[in-house]
Protein backbone atom coordinates (compact mmCIF):
# COMPACT_ATOMS: atom_id res chain seq x y z
CA UNK A 1 0.00 0.00 0.00
CA UNK A 2 3.02 2.28 0.04
CA UNK A 3 2.36 5.19 -2.24
CA UNK A 4 -1.40 5.13 -1.82
CA UNK A 5 -3.40 7.11 0.65
CA UNK A 6 -5.02 5.34 3.54
CA UNK A 7 -3.61 2.46 5.52
CA UNK A 8 -0.80 -0.05 5.33
CA UNK A 9 -1.57 -3.73 4.98
CA UNK A 10 -0.45 -4.32 8.55
CA UNK A 11 -2.66 -1.51 9.87
CA UNK A 12 -5.66 -3.03 8.12
CA UNK A 13 -4.88 -6.42 9.62
CA UNK A 14 -4.33 -4.89 13.06
CA UNK A 15 -7.81 -3.38 13.06
CA UNK A 16 -9.44 -6.78 12.67
CA UNK A 17 -7.09 -8.34 15.21
CA UNK A 18 -8.23 -5.74 17.77
CA UNK A 19 -11.65 -7.45 17.60
CA UNK A 20 -10.26 -10.79 18.79
CA UNK A 21 -11.41 -11.68 22.30
CA UNK A 22 -9.56 -13.62 24.96
CA UNK A 23 -9.70 -17.37 24.39
CA UNK A 24 -10.98 -17.16 20.81
CA UNK A 25 -10.03 -19.80 18.29
CA UNK A 26 -8.95 -17.89 15.19
CA UNK A 27 -8.30 -19.15 11.67
CA UNK A 28 -6.33 -16.87 9.34
CA UNK A 29 -6.46 -17.30 5.57
CA UNK A 30 -3.47 -17.16 3.27
CA UNK A 31 -1.99 -13.75 2.38
CA UNK A 32 -3.00 -10.52 4.12
CA UNK A 33 -4.99 -12.32 6.88
CA UNK A 34 -1.79 -13.90 8.23
CA UNK A 35 -0.66 -10.37 9.19
CA UNK A 36 -3.26 -10.46 12.00
CA UNK A 37 -0.99 -12.73 14.01
CA UNK A 38 1.68 -9.98 14.08
CA UNK A 39 -0.63 -7.54 15.84
CA UNK A 40 0.11 -6.57 19.43
CA UNK A 41 -3.08 -7.47 21.30
CA UNK A 42 -1.51 -7.45 24.74
CA UNK A 43 -2.52 -10.19 27.15
CA UNK A 44 -5.35 -11.42 24.94
CA UNK A 45 -4.76 -15.14 24.43
CA UNK A 46 -5.66 -16.42 20.98
CA UNK A 47 -5.59 -20.02 19.83
CA UNK A 48 -4.58 -20.00 16.18
CA UNK A 49 -5.98 -22.90 14.19
CA UNK A 50 -4.64 -23.86 10.80
CA UNK A 51 -6.71 -25.97 8.41
CA UNK A 52 -3.93 -28.55 8.10
CA UNK A 53 -4.60 -29.66 11.66
CA UNK A 54 -2.42 -27.39 13.78
CA UNK A 55 -4.16 -26.09 16.91
CA UNK A 56 -2.23 -23.45 18.83
CA UNK A 57 0.53 -22.28 16.53
CA UNK A 58 2.63 -19.23 17.28
CA UNK A 59 4.90 -16.80 15.44
CA UNK A 60 6.89 -17.68 12.34
CA UNK A 61 9.99 -19.71 13.07
CA UNK A 62 13.24 -17.77 13.16
CA UNK A 63 15.43 -18.30 10.12
CA UNK A 64 17.53 -21.39 10.65
CA UNK A 65 15.17 -22.73 13.32
CA UNK A 66 12.37 -23.89 11.05
CA UNK A 67 10.90 -27.35 11.56
CA UNK A 68 10.28 -28.63 8.01
CA UNK A 69 7.46 -30.83 9.33
CA UNK A 70 5.45 -27.82 10.50
CA UNK A 71 3.69 -25.29 8.30
CA UNK A 72 0.54 -23.19 8.60
CA UNK A 73 -2.19 -22.93 5.96
CA UNK A 74 0.00 -20.64 3.88
CA UNK A 75 2.92 -23.05 3.91
CA UNK A 76 4.95 -20.85 6.27
CA UNK A 77 7.13 -22.51 8.90
CA UNK A 78 5.51 -21.55 12.17
CA UNK A 79 6.19 -22.45 15.80
CA UNK A 80 3.95 -24.15 18.36
CA UNK A 81 2.78 -22.53 21.57
CA UNK A 82 2.60 -24.52 24.80
CA UNK A 83 -0.61 -26.54 24.81
CA UNK A 84 -0.64 -27.02 21.03
CA UNK A 85 -2.13 -30.19 19.54
CA UNK A 86 -2.07 -31.78 16.09
CA UNK A 87 -5.03 -33.48 14.42
CA UNK A 88 -5.55 -34.95 10.97
CA UNK A 89 -7.33 -33.16 8.16
CA UNK A 90 -10.78 -34.63 8.75
CA UNK A 91 -10.63 -33.75 12.45
CA UNK A 92 -9.33 -30.28 11.59
CA UNK A 93 -12.35 -29.61 9.42
CA UNK A 94 -14.59 -31.22 12.03
CA UNK A 95 -13.48 -28.34 14.26
CA UNK A 96 -14.29 -25.86 11.50
CA UNK A 97 -17.65 -27.30 10.44
CA UNK A 98 -18.92 -27.73 13.99
CA UNK A 99 -18.65 -23.98 14.58
CA UNK A 100 -15.73 -23.96 17.00
CA UNK A 101 -13.82 -21.28 15.07
CA UNK A 102 -14.74 -17.93 16.67
CA UNK A 103 -13.56 -15.96 13.67
CA UNK A 104 -11.96 -16.62 10.32
CA UNK A 105 -10.20 -13.77 8.54
CA UNK A 106 -10.11 -14.27 4.79
CA UNK A 107 -8.98 -12.37 1.76
CA UNK A 108 -11.46 -11.72 -1.07
CA UNK A 109 -11.82 -10.46 -4.61
CA UNK A 110 -15.30 -9.07 -3.94
CA UNK A 111 -17.59 -8.51 -0.96
CA UNK A 112 -21.24 -7.60 -1.42
CA UNK A 113 -23.32 -5.56 1.00
CA UNK A 114 -25.61 -8.58 1.48
CA UNK A 115 -22.70 -10.41 3.14
CA UNK A 116 -21.80 -12.58 0.14
CA UNK A 117 -18.15 -12.73 -0.82
CA UNK A 118 -15.99 -14.26 -3.52
CA UNK A 119 -12.39 -15.41 -3.18
CA UNK A 120 -11.87 -18.68 -5.05
CA UNK A 121 -12.35 -18.12 -8.77
CA UNK A 122 -11.50 -15.31 -11.12
CA UNK A 123 -13.93 -14.10 -13.77
CA UNK A 124 -13.75 -16.41 -16.76
CA UNK A 125 -11.34 -18.87 -15.15
CA UNK A 126 -11.94 -22.59 -15.58
CA UNK A 127 -10.18 -23.68 -12.41
CA UNK A 128 -10.19 -22.23 -8.97
CA UNK A 129 -8.59 -22.40 -5.58
CA UNK A 130 -11.09 -23.18 -2.85
CA UNK A 131 -8.84 -24.70 -0.23
CA UNK A 132 -10.63 -24.49 3.10
CA UNK A 133 -12.40 -21.21 2.36
CA UNK A 134 -15.88 -22.61 1.71
CA UNK A 135 -15.85 -24.70 4.87
CA UNK A 136 -14.54 -21.79 6.93
CA UNK A 137 -16.92 -19.25 5.42
CA UNK A 138 -19.97 -21.44 5.90
CA UNK A 139 -19.16 -22.51 9.45
CA UNK A 140 -17.05 -20.04 11.43
CA UNK A 141 -18.97 -18.01 14.00
CA UNK A 142 -17.77 -14.81 12.32
CA UNK A 143 -16.25 -14.12 8.90
CA UNK A 144 -14.04 -11.05 8.60
CA UNK A 145 -12.65 -10.00 5.24
CA UNK A 146 -9.45 -8.07 4.68
CA UNK A 147 -8.75 -6.65 1.23
CA UNK A 148 -7.68 -3.65 -0.83
CA UNK A 149 -10.65 -1.40 -1.40
CA UNK A 150 -10.30 -1.49 -5.20
CA UNK A 151 -8.84 -3.66 -7.93
CA UNK A 152 -5.51 -2.78 -9.51
CA UNK A 153 -7.37 -0.97 -12.23
CA UNK A 154 -9.39 0.99 -9.68
CA UNK A 155 -12.66 -0.89 -9.91
CA UNK A 156 -14.69 -1.42 -6.75
CA UNK A 157 -14.40 -4.64 -4.70
CA UNK A 158 -17.13 -3.64 -2.23
CA UNK A 159 -20.23 -3.95 -4.36
CA UNK A 160 -23.98 -4.50 -4.33
CA UNK A 161 -23.90 -8.08 -5.64
CA UNK A 162 -20.94 -10.31 -6.42
CA UNK A 163 -20.13 -10.64 -10.11
CA UNK A 164 -17.92 -13.71 -9.81
CA UNK A 165 -18.77 -17.06 -8.19
CA UNK A 166 -19.25 -16.67 -4.44
CA UNK A 167 -17.52 -18.58 -1.65
CA UNK A 168 -20.47 -18.28 0.74
CA UNK A 169 -23.61 -16.18 1.02
CA UNK A 170 -24.58 -13.71 3.71
CA UNK A 171 -21.75 -14.52 6.08
CA UNK A 172 -19.41 -11.51 6.16
CA UNK A 173 -19.79 -9.27 9.23
CA UNK A 174 -16.71 -7.03 8.94
CA UNK A 175 -14.60 -5.81 6.03
CA UNK A 176 -11.37 -3.91 6.61
CA UNK A 177 -9.77 -2.15 3.65
CA UNK A 178 -7.19 0.57 3.13
CA UNK A 179 -10.07 3.08 3.26
CA UNK A 180 -11.94 1.98 6.35
CA UNK A 181 -13.87 -0.56 8.37
CA UNK A 182 -17.22 -1.67 6.99
CA UNK A 183 -20.20 -3.84 7.88
CA UNK A 184 -22.47 -5.38 5.23
CA UNK A 185 -25.99 -4.30 6.23
CA UNK A 186 -28.03 -5.98 3.50
CA UNK A 187 -28.74 -3.16 1.04
CA UNK A 188 -25.72 -1.03 1.93
CA UNK A 189 -22.39 -1.02 3.71
CA UNK A 190 -22.22 0.76 7.05
CA UNK A 191 -18.88 2.53 7.44
CA UNK A 192 -17.79 2.16 11.06
CA UNK A 193 -14.39 3.88 10.76
CA UNK A 194 -12.58 5.82 8.06
CA UNK A 195 -8.88 5.82 7.23
CA UNK A 196 -6.90 8.94 8.15
CA UNK A 197 -6.79 11.52 5.35
CA UNK A 198 -9.65 9.94 3.42
CA UNK A 199 -13.01 11.61 2.83
CA UNK A 200 -16.39 9.95 2.75
CA UNK A 201 -16.77 11.14 -0.83
CA UNK A 202 -13.58 9.31 -1.82
CA UNK A 203 -14.85 6.13 -0.19
CA UNK A 204 -18.21 6.40 -1.95
CA UNK A 205 -16.52 7.02 -5.28
CA UNK A 206 -14.52 3.82 -4.91
CA UNK A 207 -17.39 1.64 -3.63
CA UNK A 208 -19.88 -0.16 -5.82
CA UNK A 209 -22.75 -0.07 -3.32
CA UNK A 210 -24.40 2.44 -1.03
CA UNK A 211 -22.17 3.50 1.89
CA UNK A 212 -24.00 4.66 5.00
CA UNK A 213 -22.17 6.83 7.47
CA UNK A 214 -23.06 7.34 11.14
CA UNK A 215 -23.54 10.84 12.51
CA UNK A 216 -20.15 10.70 14.10
CA UNK A 217 -17.63 8.75 12.03
CA UNK A 218 -14.52 7.71 14.01
CA UNK A 219 -11.10 7.52 12.47
CA UNK A 220 -9.77 4.01 11.79
CA UNK A 221 -8.35 2.63 15.03
CA UNK A 222 -4.61 2.10 14.82
CA UNK A 223 -3.88 0.82 18.34
CA UNK A 224 -5.63 -1.24 20.99
Amino acid sequence: MSGTKGLSRQQIADRLAFEFQDGWIVNLGVGMPTLCSNTDIGDTQIIYHSENGVIGYGPLAEPGKEDPHLVNAGGQNVTLRPGAAIVHHADSFAIIRSGKIDVTVLGAYEVACNGDFANWKMAGAKGGGIGGAMDLAACAKRVFVIMEHTTRSGGPRLIARCNIPVTARGVVTRVATNLGLFEPLGEAFLMHEIAPGITVEEVRAQTGAEVRVPDRLPTFRLAR
Binding site: N52, V71, L80, I86, H88, H89, K121, G129, G132, V166
Partner: protein, 244 residues
Amino acid sequence: MKTKELASFADAVRDIPDGASIAFAGFGPVGVPYNLLNALAEQGAKNLTCVANTTGGAGQPRMPDIGRLVEQGQVRKVICSFTAATRASDQLPFTKYYESGEVEAELVPQGTLAERLRAAGAGIPAFYTPAAVGTELAEGRETRSFGGRDYLLEHALPVDYAFLRAWRADAFGNLLFRRSQRNFNPVMAMAARITIVEVEEDILPIGGIDPDEVHTAGIFVHRLVRIPPAPAGIWQPGPREVRR
Protein backbone atom coordinates in the same frame (compact mmCIF):
# COMPACT_ATOMS: atom_id res chain seq x y z
CA MET B 1 3.32 -61.13 11.59
CA LYS B 2 5.27 -60.66 8.38
CA THR B 3 7.03 -57.38 7.72
CA LYS B 4 5.42 -55.08 5.16
CA GLU B 5 8.74 -53.47 4.27
CA LEU B 6 9.78 -53.57 0.63
CA ALA B 7 13.22 -52.89 -0.79
CA SER B 8 12.40 -50.16 -3.30
CA PHE B 9 9.81 -47.63 -4.40
CA ALA B 10 9.71 -49.38 -7.78
CA ASP B 11 8.64 -52.61 -6.04
CA ALA B 12 6.00 -50.72 -4.10
CA VAL B 13 4.24 -49.28 -7.17
CA ARG B 14 4.95 -51.98 -9.76
CA ASP B 15 1.44 -53.45 -9.86
CA ILE B 16 -0.48 -50.19 -10.19
CA PRO B 17 -2.63 -50.60 -13.30
CA ASP B 18 -3.79 -48.08 -15.86
CA GLY B 19 -7.04 -46.52 -14.69
CA ALA B 20 -6.27 -46.73 -10.97
CA SER B 21 -7.47 -44.08 -8.51
CA ILE B 22 -4.75 -42.89 -6.16
CA ALA B 23 -4.87 -40.49 -3.22
CA PHE B 24 -1.68 -38.55 -2.49
CA ALA B 25 -1.22 -37.15 1.01
CA GLY B 26 0.45 -33.85 1.82
CA PHE B 27 -0.29 -30.23 2.56
CA GLY B 28 2.18 -27.73 1.22
CA PRO B 29 5.45 -29.65 0.98
CA VAL B 30 4.82 -31.54 4.25
CA GLY B 31 3.77 -35.18 4.11
CA VAL B 32 3.87 -35.41 0.32
CA PRO B 33 5.05 -38.87 -0.82
CA TYR B 34 7.59 -37.49 -3.31
CA ASN B 35 9.50 -40.75 -3.65
CA LEU B 36 6.39 -42.78 -4.45
CA LEU B 37 5.23 -40.08 -6.88
CA ASN B 38 8.61 -40.25 -8.57
CA ALA B 39 8.41 -44.04 -8.81
CA LEU B 40 4.92 -43.79 -10.28
CA ALA B 41 6.16 -41.32 -12.89
CA GLU B 42 8.87 -43.82 -13.83
CA GLN B 43 6.45 -46.77 -13.74
CA GLY B 44 4.22 -45.02 -16.28
CA ALA B 45 0.65 -46.12 -15.37
CA LYS B 46 -1.86 -44.08 -17.39
CA ASN B 47 -5.44 -42.88 -17.21
CA LEU B 48 -5.10 -42.28 -13.47
CA THR B 49 -7.55 -40.49 -11.18
CA CYS B 50 -5.52 -38.45 -8.70
CA VAL B 51 -6.93 -37.26 -5.37
CA ALA B 52 -4.98 -34.67 -3.40
CA ASN B 53 -5.24 -31.23 -1.87
CA THR B 54 -3.58 -29.61 -4.89
CA THR B 55 -2.29 -30.60 -8.30
CA GLY B 56 1.24 -29.70 -7.25
CA GLY B 57 3.51 -26.72 -7.10
CA ALA B 58 4.55 -24.05 -9.56
CA GLY B 59 8.04 -23.64 -8.07
CA GLN B 60 11.42 -24.58 -9.45
CA PRO B 61 13.16 -26.91 -9.14
CA ARG B 62 10.13 -29.00 -9.94
CA MET B 63 9.32 -31.68 -7.37
CA PRO B 64 7.67 -34.93 -8.48
CA ASP B 65 3.95 -34.25 -8.03
CA ILE B 66 0.62 -34.60 -9.82
CA GLY B 67 1.64 -31.79 -12.17
CA ARG B 68 4.50 -33.95 -13.39
CA LEU B 69 2.21 -36.97 -13.89
CA VAL B 70 -0.11 -34.69 -15.87
CA GLU B 71 2.74 -33.46 -18.06
CA GLN B 72 3.68 -37.08 -18.76
CA GLY B 73 0.16 -37.86 -19.92
CA GLN B 74 -0.57 -40.26 -17.05
CA VAL B 75 -3.64 -38.51 -15.64
CA ARG B 76 -7.27 -38.63 -16.73
CA LYS B 77 -8.82 -36.71 -13.82
CA VAL B 78 -7.90 -34.89 -10.63
CA ILE B 79 -10.06 -34.41 -7.53
CA CYS B 80 -8.59 -31.50 -5.56
CA SER B 81 -9.40 -28.40 -3.52
CA PHE B 82 -7.15 -26.31 -5.80
CA THR B 83 -7.24 -26.51 -9.58
CA ALA B 84 -5.60 -23.12 -9.92
CA ALA B 85 -2.84 -21.44 -7.96
CA THR B 86 -3.71 -19.27 -4.98
CA ARG B 87 -1.94 -16.35 -6.63
CA ALA B 88 -3.33 -15.36 -9.98
CA SER B 89 0.22 -14.74 -11.18
CA ASP B 90 1.34 -18.36 -10.62
CA GLN B 91 0.71 -20.75 -13.49
CA LEU B 92 0.49 -24.40 -12.43
CA PRO B 93 1.77 -27.10 -14.80
CA PHE B 94 -1.70 -28.63 -14.55
CA THR B 95 -3.59 -25.55 -15.72
CA LYS B 96 -3.00 -25.71 -19.47
CA TYR B 97 -3.95 -29.38 -19.66
CA TYR B 98 -7.14 -28.63 -17.76
CA GLU B 99 -8.02 -25.62 -19.86
CA SER B 100 -7.44 -27.58 -23.07
CA GLY B 101 -9.71 -30.38 -21.83
CA GLU B 102 -6.98 -33.03 -21.86
CA VAL B 103 -7.48 -33.61 -18.13
CA GLU B 104 -10.71 -33.47 -16.14
CA ALA B 105 -10.99 -31.91 -12.71
CA GLU B 106 -13.44 -32.12 -9.84
CA LEU B 107 -12.99 -29.15 -7.51
CA VAL B 108 -13.96 -29.91 -3.91
CA PRO B 109 -13.81 -27.78 -0.76
CA GLN B 110 -10.90 -29.00 1.34
CA GLY B 111 -12.99 -30.04 4.34
CA THR B 112 -15.41 -31.88 2.08
CA LEU B 113 -12.48 -33.65 0.43
CA ALA B 114 -11.13 -34.80 3.80
CA GLU B 115 -14.58 -35.87 4.98
CA ARG B 116 -15.39 -37.76 1.76
CA LEU B 117 -12.18 -39.75 2.21
CA ARG B 118 -12.96 -40.35 5.88
CA ALA B 119 -16.51 -41.44 4.94
CA ALA B 120 -15.11 -43.98 2.48
CA GLY B 121 -12.96 -45.35 5.28
CA ALA B 122 -15.88 -45.35 7.70
CA GLY B 123 -18.47 -47.18 5.59
CA ILE B 124 -20.58 -44.03 5.26
CA PRO B 125 -21.78 -43.80 1.65
CA ALA B 126 -22.97 -40.19 1.90
CA PHE B 127 -23.34 -37.30 4.33
CA TYR B 128 -24.54 -33.72 4.44
CA THR B 129 -22.30 -30.66 4.83
CA PRO B 130 -22.88 -26.91 4.98
CA ALA B 131 -19.80 -26.14 2.86
CA ALA B 132 -20.46 -24.85 -0.69
CA VAL B 133 -24.20 -24.31 -0.14
CA GLY B 134 -25.33 -21.40 -2.32
CA THR B 135 -22.26 -21.57 -4.54
CA GLU B 136 -21.58 -22.65 -8.11
CA LEU B 137 -20.44 -26.03 -6.75
CA ALA B 138 -23.94 -26.74 -5.43
CA GLU B 139 -25.72 -26.06 -8.73
CA GLY B 140 -27.91 -28.96 -9.79
CA ARG B 141 -27.06 -30.97 -6.71
CA GLU B 142 -29.13 -32.20 -3.79
CA THR B 143 -29.50 -29.83 -0.89
CA ARG B 144 -31.58 -30.54 2.15
CA SER B 145 -32.62 -28.62 5.21
CA PHE B 146 -31.93 -29.87 8.74
CA GLY B 147 -32.98 -27.67 11.65
CA GLY B 148 -33.71 -24.79 9.30
CA ARG B 149 -30.29 -24.74 7.65
CA ASP B 150 -29.40 -25.98 4.18
CA TYR B 151 -26.80 -28.69 3.58
CA LEU B 152 -25.34 -30.34 0.52
CA LEU B 153 -25.25 -34.12 -0.01
CA GLU B 154 -21.72 -35.41 -0.52
CA HIS B 155 -20.60 -38.95 -1.37
CA ALA B 156 -17.78 -41.07 -0.03
CA LEU B 157 -14.57 -41.02 -2.06
CA PRO B 158 -12.95 -44.47 -1.97
CA VAL B 159 -9.66 -44.96 -3.82
CA ASP B 160 -7.70 -47.96 -5.04
CA TYR B 161 -4.38 -46.78 -3.60
CA ALA B 162 -3.16 -44.22 -1.09
CA PHE B 163 0.41 -42.90 -1.17
CA LEU B 164 1.54 -41.66 2.24
CA ARG B 165 4.62 -40.23 3.85
CA ALA B 166 5.22 -41.00 7.53
CA TRP B 167 7.87 -40.11 10.04
CA ARG B 168 8.09 -43.47 11.79
CA ALA B 169 6.62 -46.91 11.20
CA ASP B 170 6.88 -50.38 12.65
CA ALA B 171 7.10 -53.37 10.35
CA PHE B 172 3.38 -54.13 10.75
CA GLY B 173 2.61 -50.66 9.36
CA ASN B 174 1.62 -48.76 12.49
CA LEU B 175 2.48 -45.15 11.63
CA LEU B 176 3.53 -41.97 13.37
CA PHE B 177 3.44 -38.58 11.67
CA ARG B 178 5.35 -35.55 12.85
CA ARG B 179 3.61 -32.19 13.34
CA SER B 180 1.64 -31.01 10.29
CA GLN B 181 2.85 -34.03 8.33
CA ARG B 182 -0.24 -35.83 9.61
CA ASN B 183 -2.68 -33.83 7.41
CA PHE B 184 -4.49 -36.09 4.89
CA ASN B 185 -2.38 -39.19 5.60
CA PRO B 186 -4.69 -40.97 8.10
CA VAL B 187 -7.93 -40.47 6.17
CA MET B 188 -6.36 -41.48 2.86
CA ALA B 189 -5.08 -44.68 4.49
CA MET B 190 -8.64 -45.39 5.63
CA ALA B 191 -10.12 -44.71 2.18
CA ALA B 192 -7.78 -46.93 0.16
CA ARG B 193 -7.79 -50.62 -0.68
CA ILE B 194 -3.96 -50.59 -0.75
CA THR B 195 -1.92 -48.10 1.25
CA ILE B 196 1.76 -47.56 0.42
CA VAL B 197 3.97 -45.52 2.72
CA GLU B 198 7.37 -43.90 2.38
CA VAL B 199 8.99 -43.66 5.79
CA GLU B 200 11.55 -41.11 6.94
CA GLU B 201 13.23 -43.15 9.67
CA ASP B 202 14.41 -46.74 9.92
CA ILE B 203 11.45 -49.07 10.17
CA LEU B 204 11.00 -50.30 13.73
CA PRO B 205 10.39 -53.91 14.77
CA ILE B 206 6.72 -54.85 15.18
CA GLY B 207 5.54 -53.39 18.45
CA GLY B 208 8.14 -50.60 18.40
CA ILE B 209 5.39 -47.98 18.74
CA ASP B 210 3.25 -47.81 21.88
CA PRO B 211 -0.34 -48.81 20.98
CA ASP B 212 -1.66 -45.59 22.58
CA GLU B 213 0.53 -43.41 20.35
CA VAL B 214 -0.19 -44.93 16.95
CA HIS B 215 -1.65 -42.37 14.49
CA THR B 216 -2.59 -44.83 11.74
CA ALA B 217 -3.07 -48.49 12.65
CA GLY B 218 -1.16 -51.12 10.71
CA ILE B 219 -4.35 -52.80 9.49
CA PHE B 220 -4.72 -49.84 7.08
CA VAL B 221 -1.17 -50.17 5.72
CA HIS B 222 0.09 -52.66 3.15
CA ARG B 223 3.55 -51.62 1.94
CA LEU B 224 6.40 -49.67 3.54
CA VAL B 225 9.58 -48.32 1.97
CA ARG B 226 12.32 -46.57 3.92
CA ILE B 227 13.47 -43.35 2.22
CA PRO B 228 17.22 -43.59 1.54
CA PRO B 229 19.50 -40.62 2.10
CA ALA B 230 19.69 -38.04 -0.70
CA PRO B 231 20.42 -38.08 -3.56
CA ALA B 232 18.88 -41.55 -3.91
CA GLY B 233 15.93 -40.52 -1.73
CA ILE B 234 13.87 -37.39 -2.28
CA TRP B 235 13.44 -35.30 0.85
CA GLN B 236 10.92 -32.54 1.20
CA PRO B 237 12.03 -29.07 0.27
CA GLY B 238 12.46 -26.90 3.30
CA PRO B 239 14.75 -24.43 4.89
CA ARG B 240 16.83 -27.27 6.20
CA GLU B 241 16.51 -30.86 7.23
CA VAL B 242 15.56 -31.23 10.87
CA ARG B 243 15.69 -34.90 11.68
CA ARG B 244 16.16 -36.71 14.91
